[in-house]
Symmetry: C2
Subunit: 528 residues, 2 copies
């Protein structure tokens, strides 16, 4: 299982490093440089990677769902087999602790296996059949059958903050490969050795499974724009910053053939404290909430960046409890120097807003991120350009005491799109705030009661999405099995001979899947 | 049922005509002007219409699916009740014959009823439930439940060529209203009296059903850009030209909050003749194909604009049969003067291409569209900028004799995205052209065997979509029940008390719908 790090791009099963620009792999703590440099893909290499994906698409999409499922399972096995040396390497590049990374490795392989299950379950086909009605008046109805196929090659951009679960073999890659779409992956510069080792694992799975070599390709360097503009690319998956994601969306929309971009970008994930919950569980919530703010050094898309409640003695006490809980936190090393700079300027920006004060900081450090608890006046929350709604990526949160329940509704009515919105609430609180919940539904992809948004479950029902700017398209999710839908499109066959239809649509229903046949959901075969 | 034509905009249940710019309703044949002029919406009126939709959205989306279904049924009843005077009026504005319009009226009300069925069937909810696993190690799984809600107010642009089925109460409006999205409709200037009468029908249904008045709004005039840019609008449905659709897409992508545009734009719908079908049914195909080219004066999105076969004696004979069939056609009145001008310049453009000749023209006329059959050299088909792939909207088609089967594959490999691709083929032809079919699948939304693309069935399995430039987003369809998906987004609830969940997600499954519960499709209730 020993892997030699080459630093070369992955193009259709071959390695290629023809460029002159190289990128270093830096240790997150200390900045030591890894001995091998990574060669940025040249324009020709990016095109070759896209071409490899384009070439692989017809053969790959023609494979049965079962064969694609076996391929995903093989990737999962290869990822599980990456050993402790691998975990140590990821930890060097990201400063994330081994226990977190072991968990994330399991999440990553489980994601692959979950999509394999989706492929075997067959609901992703969306099979719909309207049988012929030759005697219908005034016109006969032809036989019409619909299912879904992969849209074509997908460009995937790795996220820095989940070097395994949202990077090379992460959720977007899993969803695209499951959909039958070859992937061209742009490795994140923050974990290059990690990326190469995972790409090697996928390459081994490709060989073992006998799928076309071009189903997976990976390029290094600042080549994202070229990738999104490449005519062969048919969709984009991205997790990262709002400016970065928006730039890709704009490029994709300006192509001669526009393509969809699924960018997960920016969210402050408000936590709203309702009165009875505050009365009954304030201290516990304060402790748990600070835990959610600082976990993973706050480098989570669902990190709670805003905490709201209406003025009351219980809320005042809660803020003091938050303050005490934050004061016991310690600085943590961030994923990379750029992340620390960005966090520090975000903290600085908040400090400089009139009406914002620091309630607590967890220690001091020049090289690590210092957790921060801010308190802001309600006027700031409603201020021009909503300054509290700009994401500060790191272990910071802002608590705001509102004057009234009406202000809470005003906030919900005007807040930006969010990945999540959380209520800390007793049953009576919920009954008394149905109007608030209705507003939050319009603004968030996931609503939580008495939990914390960090820790995103990977399952059928998860939505990790939401209205702009949380994502670029609220109709998608990047976590959970519905993520496959982003990379599928419907196609229908009119008056096709049964034997030439895809198996999912044949009369006998050889896959045994649930289908919508003449307006009824059924697994029954159709009598010819 | 007598309707007085006011020419005023429909804003939240009120009529408003404050502007100074008016639009005439012209008779398609002759150009006579209707006595009432239609008042273009002012900037304030467009904003007011969007505001009315925004205000209606929370209440409308909160209605049960059954109540929304009753509303759609009521619209259907009101449309069916539009009498012969209505049909005569539409015919005056569009020159479409009464029989066609009576059929289209039925299609329009049936579309509404079909979406009502979808609402009652409940699969549009996409209900998914992962129940809590409190004992799971290392971490418990919370209860997570997902379903889909309407994205918010939708702007719909009426098509000229289906003044009923793809206009005011057409497919996009039906899909949006079914999804729980209020509509702001931009009336097409080609059938303004028709639009007002249908809007009145919807207004009556709104009153009868007790849904919020702002669920349906209609504006007159050149206000499309303002509508797409209005912050309250969350998605756009459009049927029309490629330049028009693309302009809306570009505007929507450039908004501070980009929104999806589902534009159905341009398709030449190739018909491919395979050898045995030519041998056995050439004459019949020629006759039927010309019928498909001239039906509705060729003003159909699925009109066959390109006919391809490989050189053979049978193909030569087929071309002669096409020629004979086209020569018997007569000029027809188009929907409006602009359409005739556009068709005439399209015909003129084709005439001027070297290697293109007119094989037959169905008569002569200065005021009507003359059906045309062109023949083009294969070199033109593969020429720079694919001149034969620019849609000529009207009763014209181009036949091309290819040198070889390989050329057929080359064409399929390089052709633009299409709504449809049709094979005229015997069983042995199909077996011998699997490679061709695989290529067509990548380029078209609907594949037909031994039929004609005109006459789009409205059903669950229909796909009226396809890769760009056929549409702006191949993942949607604008005909058939899957069209509702364009206007839905998923939302999930984590750890919500059962009683506060939407009915579709409650343990008892009070709606009795099929749900994905713990990875299994079931209608069973969940034991609490």
């Amino acid at each position: 299982m020993a892997t030699t790090i080459l630093g070369h791009n992955y193009i259709g099963g071959q390695r290629s490093g023809q460029g002159n620009v190289t990128l270093p792999s830096l240790a997150a703590a200390g900045g030591d440089v890894y001995p091998v440099a990574f060669v940025q893909a040249t324009e020709q290499e990016v095109n070759a990677a896209v071409d490899a994906a384009v070439q692989a698409y017809p053969a790959y999409r023609a494979l049965s769902a079962e064969v694609r499922a076996q391929f995903l399972d093989a990737i999962a096995d290869e990822i599980d087999a990456l050993g402790d040396d691998f975990i140590a390497e990821v930890s060097r590049e990201t400063a994330l602790p081994a226990a977190r990374l072991q968990g994330e490795r399991g999440r990553t392989s489980n994601q692959m296996r979950l999509f394999a299950k989706v492929l075997r379950r067959g609901d992703f086909y969306g099979a719909r059949i309207d049988t012929a009605l030759p005697a219908r008046q005034p016109l006969p109805r032809p036989d019409i059958r619909q299912y879904k196929i992969g849209v074509g090659p997908v460009a995937v951009f790795g996220a820095s903050n989940f070097p395994l679960a949202f990077s090379v073999a992460g959720g977007d890659t899993a969803a695209a490969l499951a959909a039958g779409c070859p992937v061209v992956f742009k490795a994140h510069s923050g974990h290059l050795v990690t990326s190469e080792r995972v790409a090697d694992a996928i390459a081994r799975a490709v060989k073992r499974s006998g799928v076309p070599a071009g189903v997976f390709n990976m390029v290094y360097g600042s080549v994202g724009g070229q990738l999104v503009k490449a005519p062969g690319i048919q969709a984009v998956g991205f997790t990262g910053s709002l400016p970065g994601g928006r730039a890709l969306c704009d490029m994709a929309a300006a192509r001669p053939q526009p393509i969809p971009v699924f960018a997960e970008m920016s969210s402050i994930n408000p936590i709203i404290l309702l009165p009875q919950a505050l009365e009954q569980r304030g201290e516990q919530i304060a402790r748990e909430l600070i835990g959610s703010v600082v976990v993973g050094c706050g480098q989570l898309c669902t990190n709670p960046g805003l905490v709201l409640g209406v003025r009351s003695p219980a809320f005042t006490q809660f803020v003091a409890q938050l303050q005490a809980a934050m004061a016991t936190q310690a600085p943590q090393t961030m994923l990379n120097r750029g992340g620390l700079d960005s966090y520090s300027s975000g903290v600085q920006r908040l400090r400089q807003i009139a009406g914002v004060e620091v309630l607590a900081a967890g220690g001091e450090s020049a090289t690590q991120a210092v957790p921060h608890l801010f308190k802001a006046d309600a006027s700031v929350l409603f201020g021009k350009d909503s300054p509290l709604e700009d994401e500060v990526f790191g272990p910071a949160t802002v608590v705001v005491e509102l004057d009234s329940r009406d202000q809470l509704l005003d906030f919900a009515r005007n807040m930006h799109g969010q990945l999540t919105a959380t209520l800390q609430a007793q049953p009576d609180d919920l009954h008394a705030h149905q109007d608030l919940i209705a507003l939050l539904e319009q603004k968030a992809g996931r609503l939580l009661v008495n939990g914390y948004p960090t820790g995103v479950e990977v399952c059928d029902a998860m939505v990790h999405g939401g209205p702009y700017p949380a994502t670029s398209d609220a109709r998608g999710t990047s976590v959970g099995t519905l993520a496959i839908e982003r990379f599928l499109r419907p196609i229908c066959y009119q008056n096709y001979p049964d034997a030439l239809l895809p198996q999912a649509l044949q009369n006998a229903n050889p896959l045994g899947i649930l289908r919508l046949v003449d307006t009824e959901q059924t697994r029954a075969a159709i009598s010819a």
